[in-house]
């Protein structure tokens, strides 16, 4: 095979790969690589819409939906919870505990007191992408995974 033919094969492969990339890529994002950007661009109205579309128990008609974690005997009731948030949205977590203690969210480095008779609420903008652990200080028990997807 001549060198020209080799280059031709390479060009065809490059084109096929590029078409496949565009075709398979979900339409949501803008093409090209701009990873950390979209977080800052999301509209507040969209944020609200997504929060409300989330299928959570709707006991109270309050607008913001909090992911609920209940600690009993030093462990999360119902096992380790998975909390999904889109990057740039507001993460809302509320924690009830039967004993006094401190919780810590890795990566975001947030700490808060929890205890009987109180409901601890965490509310912050989720702008770090990845999976971060929420744990009970001291015993280091894992309570939940916060997953922030782009």
């Amino acid at each position: 095979m001549s060198n020209a033919a080799r280059l031709g094969v390479l060009a065809v492969v490059a084109v096929v790969a590029a078409i496949a990339f565009v075709a398979l890529r979900p339409s949501a994002g803008n093409p090209g690589q701009a990873p950390p950007q979209p977080a800052a661009q999301s509209e507040p109205s969209e944020t609200e819409r997504k929060a409300e579309a989330r299928p959570r128990r709707e006991r109270r008609p309050a607008r913001p939906q909090y992911a609920r974690i209940r600690i009993r005997d030093g462990a999360p009731v119902g096992g380790v919870k998975r909390i999904d948030v889109d990057s740039g949205d507001t993460a809302r977590i509320e924690i009830a505990s039967d004993a006094a203690g401190e919780i810590h969210l890795h990566g975001y480095d947030r700490e808060a007191q929890v205890g009987p008779g109180r409901l601890t609420r965490l509310r912050f903008r989720a702008d770090l992408e990845g999976i971060f652990e929420l744990e009970l200080h001291g015993p280091g028990t894992k309570l939940a995974d916060l997953r922030v997807e782009p």
């Binding site: 496949a20 990339f21 950390p36 480095d109 770090l128 990845g130 200080h137 280091g140």
Partner: protein, 478 residues
């Protein structure tokens, strides 16, 4: 901003929790952040690219060997000599030895909290993974900083002066031993990191470093420093293999440039080389798999069965993880052997059968792809921890360099950029492996067509490795 100290203390009790529950491997256990799995569409796209690229490669690859010549030209200017000058060499060796002492000291004396102690992050993240990336780019940097080599040579120097003559000549290194001592060392190290559970914490790292140093010095005394570094010392052999990918090579007292990948051509097929690469790829495979659903489904019945034999829960976690680790290594080993056997069968007759080790060196870029894709974020994020750990190596509130209050910047790379980088590592590693194997086939079989035909079984094996790597990335934490 809160003091990161109290936050880091959070890991204090994690060990206790791990007793009852199989925890993720320590390497990732240090980390405060885990990777999101690559999305399905990217997995399919990358796997497709690998397939199309492989078949295109068969048509496009060159008809004459290009990587098997030993071209090399020294870097211009004084740099090529300065870097290899005696004072620089001694300084680097001393720095390596001091870091070894620091690891042992902080691991022994410091707080036994994985995330607050200098030793685990330095050894598992900067040394074990960071140095792979550095070696692949810049060449055999570890050789200059190798503490065991530096101390061994220092002793040799002193012995020559004290004895006023040459010390007794070392024993000849037994050829049959090949790279097997390195295989044992790397398997033991990865076991400590991935399967030993909390035994691989600060004190475990320190004890392992002490024991390994003692064994290395005994072996060096027997076989000579350089002979042991070349074949037996696990980390030297490990980083040296990756350094063959780099365009930089030292010859004599000068540093020069060679064609990238051409350094792989003279990886000899000493006994144990295939096993070594199987350990390098298989252990990363296990680390990835242990974050996936398949392993989570397997590990509990396995642990139950082991506990049924009368072992404690801790021991049963350890044994189950050890079984998983070894199983992955064996799987990778068997897969490569299958491909090599296929090549020999396909080549058949005329030119004679090449040794099974003839294509071993093509696994090195695949090993880099595995390490790079799987541990990229560990280095990028947890690697930053060394900035505050260096100021407070014992985790007791010291602030030697004024950096103890720093924290990790988790906004450094977004998830999209991470996914693309991971896929790039895997696809480029695959392409590099294909090129290296093709070049070797040209040398063995002479003409391009016979070489291409012989390579089809090896190509299948490489596609399998690459797809496995992508699959692991799409399964972890899914």
């Amino acid at each position: 901003m809160r003091s990161p100290r109290s936050l880091r203390a959070a890991g204090a009790g994690a060990g206790a929790a791990a007793l009852a529950w199989p925890s993720p491997a320590l390497g990732h256990g240090i980390s405060q952040r885990a990777d999101l799995p690559i999305p399905e569409w990217l997995f399919i796209w990358a796997a497709g690219l690998v397939l199309i690229g492989s078949f295109a490669a068969l048509a496009v690859l060159w008809p004459r060997p290009k990587l098997e010549q030993r071209e090399w030209r020294p870097l211009p200017g004084p740099l090529a000599r300065v870097l290899t000058a005696r004072p620089v060499e001694v300084t680097c060796g001393l720095a390596g030895a001091l870091l070894l002492v620091l690891v042992i000291w902080s691991g022994m004396v410091g707080e036994q909290v994985v995330s607050a102690n200098f030793a685990p992050t330095f050894v598992y993240v900067l040394f074990w993974v960071g140095l792979v990336l550095v070696s692949s780019l810049l060449g055999d940097v570890f050789r200059a900083f190798n503490p065991w080599r530096a101390i061994g040579r220092g002793f040799g120097f002193l012995a020559r002066h004290a004895l006023r003559g040459a010390p007794p000549a070392p024993l000849p290194y037994p050829e049959r031993l090949g790279r097997w001592p390195a295989v044992a060392a790397l398997l033991a190290f990865t076991w400590l990191e991935l399967a030993s559970q909390e035994a691989g914490g600060p004190r475990g790292v320190a004890f392992a470093a002490l024991a390994y140093s003692a064994a290395t010095f005994v072996a060096m005394a027997l076989y000579g420093v350089e002979a042991w570094i070349e074949r037996g010392e696990g980390f030297s052999v490990y980083f040296n293999l990756f350094s063959r990918l780099s365009p930089f090579e030292r010859r004599g007292d000068r540093i020069g440039l060679r064609r990238p990948l051409s350094g792989l051509a003279d990886v000899d097929a000493a006994p144990g080389t295939v096993a070594l690469l199987a350990v390098m790829i298989g252990t990363v495979t296990f680390d990835g798999a242990s974050e996936g659903a398949l392993w989570q489904a397997l590990v509990f019945p396995l642990m139950g069965a082991i506990e049924g034999l009368g072992l404690s829960p801790v021991a049963s976690v350890r044994v189950a993880f050890s079984i998983g680790l070894v199983a992955c290594v064996v799987l990778v080993y068997a897969l490569y052997r299958l491909g090599a056997a296929g090549v020999r069968a396909a080549a058949g007759g005329a030119k004679g059968r090449p040794a099974a080790g003839a294509f071993t060196h093509s696994l090195v870029p695949i090993a880099l792809a595995y390490v790079g894709a799987h541990y990229l974020t560990l280095v990028a994020f947890q690697g930053q921890a060394i900035i505050y750990l260096a100021s407070d190596p014992l985790g007791r509130g010291a602030n030697l360099f004024g950096t103890a209050g720093r924290s990790i910047d988790f906004a450094l790379i977004g998830a999209n950029a991470i996914w693309y980088a991971q896929v790039a590592f895997v696809v480029l590693g695959h392409v590099a492996a294909l090129m290296v194997a093709h070049d070797r086939a040209l040398v063995l079989y002479g003409d391009g067509r016979a070489a291409t035909r012989s390579q089809v079984p090896m190509l299948a094996v490489m596609v399998a490795f690459t797809t496995l790597a992508l699959w692991l990335l799409s399964q972890a934490n899914a």
